[in-house]
Amino acid sequence: MDRNAEHYIDQDEPLYRPLYQTGKGFYITAGILVLVIIWAAYMYFNQIRYGLAVTGMNQPVTWGFYIVNFVFFIGISHAGTLISAILRLSKAEWRRPITRMAEVITAIVLAIGGLHPIIDLGRPDRMLNLFESGRLQSPLLWDVTSITAYFTASTVYLYIPMIPDIAKVRDRGGKLQWLYAFMAWGYQGTEHQKKVLNRAINILMVMVIPIAVSVHTVISYIFSMTLQPGWHSTIFGPYFVVGAIFSGIAALLIVMIAFRKAYHLERYLREIHFQYLATLLLIMSIIWFYFTFSEYLTGAFGAEPHEMQIIMYKFTGPFAVFFWGMVLCNFVIPVILLSFKRFKTIGGILIASCAVVVGMWLERLIIVVPSLANPRMDIPFGIYIPTVTEWALFAGGIAVFILGYMVFSKFFPIISIWEIEEGRTEGLKEVEERIHSYLPAQTNP
């Protein structure tokens, strides 16, 4: 088999390696994660048995960690598809090793985030009422609709550009032949197939952007459609979308750094990729600050008593630690670390990204809880202290994400091999031609 022999000396061999070689570290990590997931599942089972009394939610703080994490996880999911679609659309050549990693984040995190409202339900057994007697006037139904659309679009958008790689893995032989043969849909890389594939990708990437934007806008509508002070804000839609992209880029950077280390992908994920993404993160940090500033200034300047009560609850009250922690994590740390060349190393970027992920989680927390804890009626403040159950399910969600990502990387190349090859063969030429077309037209002497 000449064709196979050719593949074996492929220069992208390191990208196939994780599919065939699994180290001890993988099994140990997976084991720990499975334990965490079992723990979370047990706690959820308890919650079903005893009702939501096992959580820290109460009257009037009727929403807690589950809704916070729902907004948070769906926010992270914007990393993927949106970033990869925008980079593909803008023909950013440096996207090639990043897109697949980003899209996988979306698919996994979206599944986890989408489950959170169900975890939050008092009667998950009646979930199908949403379809049987759903009211499309309710913002929650908008959510169900847009998240389903986004999940469908982003999994298809993950799968379609993966077909050539699946075909490559199929051609190499080895394990799970039938699976790869089935998933590759008989892709042989003919001119026609390439054309169809590229067209499908082009259509999807244009479609996926408005869907992604709609998802987080609609999630913000859950809050902003109510009359509650601190929630009833017109800025919430774009504010949430910006926050989502912001946390998404940070999560993508963390994943990239982790996999670069674990699978020795230094040749593919180079310094420049991190630099570019970090610049994007810096820009998003500044835009995020602009939105936050506008949101709180309008509230505080108008000083409507109920609004003011919540703002003071966040500025100086019980939530001051979280509020100022959020400002520190989302603005101060990333801006300092990413503005100076000296700190903008892989280590610095990792710290900034971790800070942003924590900060964005805090942002979700200080949006959900204070408004509920300070109702308009003159009743005592609500206090919300999450219980072990809620922490367990939070840990479980993160564990499912990491495990899902790890398992994915064992079955499919985590970096798009055919796109890298395309970059070598066609990208170089194309970019040169493109730059020529930007330059002033040559005049004949």
């Binding site: 939501l52 008092g122 309710s138 109510t226 003159d378």
Partner: protein, 228 residues
């Protein structure tokens, strides 16, 4: 079509809490254990809001009974994803316990914090299980519930009136809280009927509604000289 409304005279109210007790008994509201209550899992369809004004020793205590306000434009029904909360043509806002999925969105949307949630399986004290009100269904864990203006009493009143082929008289439909108020501070009736007590009182100079500026049109009027 009548439109049922309530008036509570805060100048008469002594803040004794008899309305709360009567409501719990009438509507089979689960009584939670002290530990649960401490965690904020207590349920009152008729709540009592207590606020303090001034500084020691000149403290003024305000007590304000708070049932569901049965808004004419209720924020809770707008957000319900499954239509488990509704407003009927007589203006009563109700809850369908068998359809509620327990997402608690209505509770988050209610500006008056009027709804309560069954955080755990209701636990009944000895004896309570033998004297449930047979007219009111018991609720299961994980659903939202709230004051119904004792809608089950309206059914009886309607049956009586139908049998005698007459309209419902003013003061015939009486919720449990009103019946048990020792100070006679609660009034209830058809606010569209110009002859009714409730209509007259709602036009009183002392009458006000809570947060009228929200535009949700609560159908509960308070009477007070000092405006809560």
């Amino acid at each position: 079509m009548p439109k049922w409304a309530m008036v509570i005279d805060l100048d008469k109210c002594t803040g004794c809490g008899a309305c709360m007790a009567a409501c719990n008994m009438e509507n089979n509201v689960a009584i939670v254990a002290p530990k649960e209550a401490q965690e904020g899992h207590v349920m009152f369809w008729m709540d009592m809001i207590t606020s303090y004004e001034g500084e020691y020793p000149n403290i003024e205590v305000k007590r304000m009974p708070k049932p569901c306000y049965h808004c004419d434009d209720p924020p809770c029904i707008k957000v319900c994803p499954v239509g488990a909360t509704f407003r009927n043509e007589e203006g009563l806002v109700g809850q369908v316990y068998m359809r509620c999925i327990g997402c608690r969105y209505c509770m988050a949307a209610c500006p008056f914090t009027a709804k309560v949630y069954n955080w755990g399986e209701p636990q009944w004290i000895d004896g309570a299980t033998t004297c449930f009100n047979p007219d009111v269904s018991r609720r299961m864990v994980g659903v939202v519930e709230k004051c119904s203006f004792c809608a089950h009493r309206l059914i009886k009143v309607k049956e009586d009136a139908d049998q005698e082929e007459r309209a419902i008289r003013d003061g015939e439909y009486v919720p449990a809280c009103m019946e048990n108020c020792p100070a006679d501070a609660i009034y209830f009736g058809d606010i569209e009927d110009r002859q009714s007590m409730v209509h007259k009182l709602s036009r009183n100079y002392r009458a006000f509604r809570v947060m009228e500026d929200l535009g949700v049109e609560p159908k509960l009027y308070y009477l007070s000289k000092r405006k809560a």
